[in-house]
């Protein structure tokens, strides 16, 4: 068993390699036997019912949760080892949350330059210039001095994406970044992510947006009761899955009008 994304591309080291990961909360096993790889410049999308463990998986990769077993390797380096400093690992990872989690007491600009200036030790003028470049690119330049509560949900989420990009992460973790948004605002956020993908950003996503998954994913993994039940290219998993559980799930999402 070698898991998703080991088909032929096993030549170079993948950006992320998760092996036999297991995680439980008390008696509840939330993730087990999770094995997959994310090669450079690709996107792996996790789909699955609510409670199937998608957020937990992303939080484990970000070392916000401690795993029970298994290994997580970033660029071949074991980041689940006991002697690893999580702060060092997180400098290479960007994470965007479902609920944006912008800092309400800071302006958009301050939100974005916090990590570059405090964590990476970049000079403030440089960080600001860099931040403005990103804001410009995503059409948010005029919002730089606003506080987050003055922005629409879609704008807030795009700021959160910019904030996670400002540190040039090796890998971007996106956890259902559109599920707190009005349908009309979803598209602006998704097109931002598509742009990033086009620029070669490596990412792992959890999403309920099947149409989006189809566009952006190199590989889709179906998570069911804490296990990767089925995986493959988006056309196969989303349109012609083998297992009945996957078919069932896709059908339910379809009926809810998200395909």
């Amino acid at each position: 068993m070698n898991g998703p994304s080991m088909n032929g591309s096993g030549m170079s080291t993948p950006v992320l390699r998760v092996e036999k990961l297991r995680k439980s909360f008390g008696d509840e096993i939330v993730l087990q036997d999770i094995t997959f790889s994310v090669p450079e410049h690709t996107a792996t999308v996790f789909i699955g019912a609510s409670g199937s463990g998608k957020s937990t998986l992303l939080r484990c990769i970000n070392l916000l949760e401690q795993v029970d077993d298994g290994t997580i390797k970033l660029d071949g380096e074991d980041i689940s080892a006991a002697d690893v400093n999580p702060d060092e690992v997180r400098k290479k990872l960007g994470m965007v949350f479902q609920a944006f989690n912008l800092f309400p007491h800071m302006t958009v600009l301050e939100n974005i330059i916090l990590a570059p200036t405090r964590v990476q030790g970049i000079r403030e003028e440089e960080a600001i210039a860099e931040a403005f470049k990103l804001l410009e690119r995503f059409g948010l330049r005029d919002k730089a001095d606003q506080y987050p509560d003055r922005l629409s949900g879609g704008q807030q989420q795009r700021v959160a994406i910019i904030r996670s990009l400002a540190r040039n992460p090796r890998l971007l973790l996106l956890d259902e970044i559109t599920s707190a948004l009005d349908p009309v605002l979803v598209n602006e956020v998704l097109s931002t992510v598509r742009d990033l993908k086009g620029e070669g950003m490596t990412m792992v996503l959890a999403t309920h947006e099947m149409g989006f998954a189809k566009q952006v994913a190199n590989e889709v993994c179906f998570l069911h009761q804490g296990k990767i039940l089925e995986w493959g290219p988006p056309e196969v998993i989303l349109e012609n899955p083998k297992l009945s559980e996957t078919r069932e799930f896709i059908k339910r999402v379809h009926d809810a009008g998200r395909l």
């Binding site: 400098k91 949350f97 989690n101 800092f103 916090l114 405090r118 996670s164």
Partner: protein, 303 residues
């Protein structure tokens, strides 16, 4: 520029009843509404004025016509005498003010430190966490007067070498000890109300635990607890008067000395007025800040 705006979008300009050019006139309904509103406001103001006049006037008449009024006035409100002793009382209040400043600053720092210790999860701090909890429990549960007596009279009684017997310093220390326990709890509650997702976001950006506290958690926590902390400041100003029991000449003690000489209680009333002159503006300010922060929170809830 206003004609530019007034032009509209062309397509539906014929059907739009709106003219944004500035030539808007209130409709008849709106004019009638405004007149009705003005009428109602005038009526309300009249009612308020009449009822105030009636109630306060009655109280005043009852007061000055009561048989003891003259004695009462001469005992508590002998203004000429009051203004004579006012400089001494204000001089004494200087002690209260200085003490508030010194104790206030120390309390803020010590309270913050204790709150940080109590909310930390570092295993190295376990014994300190334990001690901080006991400290808070004990000093929130003892009347401050008792702490002042214990420290102010008890420590000199030990006759320790190198330890001050200055009651002013000892009294200040007693106030700091007690208030730090209160303030630590206020700050701690503020820290606990910052949502865990804020920490998660900060940590996932690579900020260390300390950086997360300094840049993300504390600014939000302190902003939230500013109104209750200002309340504590008002209480602190008043409670500095308690150390007059050690013989420190503050505003209360100064008034007491005058009263003892003249057997007239007007100096006490003057001291009360001096305290009010400082505490009432502070209380008003606290009220306003609380209202503003509530409004902000509500606005956020809607967004």
């Amino acid at each position: 520029m206003s004609d530019n705006r007034g032009r509209g979008t062309g397509d539906n300009s014929g059907s739009a009843p709106y003219d944004f050019g500035g030539a808007w006139q209130p409709s008849e309904i709106e004019v009638a509404r405004r007149i009705a509103r003005k009428k109602r406001n005038r009526k309300n103001a009249l009612i308020a004025a009449l009822s105030s006049l009636l109630v306060l006037g009655t109280l005043l008449v009852v007061l000055v016509t009561s048989p003891g009024w003259i004695t009462l006035r001469d005992t508590f409100f002998k203004w000429a005498y009051g203004f004579e002793v006012l400089p001494k009382i204000i001089l004494g209040f200087g002690t209260n003010a200085t003490l508030t400043l010194i104790a206030g600053t120390s309390v803020a720092l010590l309270g913050l430190l204790i709150a940080l210790i109590r909310t930390s999860r570092s295993p190295a701090l376990t014994p300190f966490r334990f001690l901080a909890t006991i400290y808070v429990d004990v000093f929130r549960g003892i009347p401050m007067l008792l702490v002042i007596l214990l420290v102010g009279f008890g420590i000199p009684a030990l006759q320790l070498k190198g330890v001050t017997n200055n009651v002013l310093i000892l009294g200040t220390i007693a106030v700091i000890i007690t208030y730090s326990a209160y303030v630590a709890e206020v700050i701690r509650s503020g820290i606990l109300t910052v949502h865990p997702s804020q920490r998660a976001a900060a940590r996932s950006l690579g900020l260390s635990h300390i950086q997360t506290l300094r840049h993300v958690v504390l600014p939000q926590a302190l902003k939230r607890v500013t109104p209750p902390l200002l309340n504590d400041l008002v209480a602190l100003i008043k409670d500095t008067g308690l150390i007059s029991i050690l013989g420190v000449t503050d505003a209360i003690r100064a008034a007491q000395i005058q009263t003892a000489k003249s057997f007239n209680y007007t100096p006490y009333v003057m001291a009360a007025l001096v305290f009010l002159a400082v505490t009432i503006p502070l209380t008003r300010m606290t009220d306003r800040m609380l209202r503003n922060s509530l409004e902000r929170q509500n606005a956020q809830g809607q967004a």
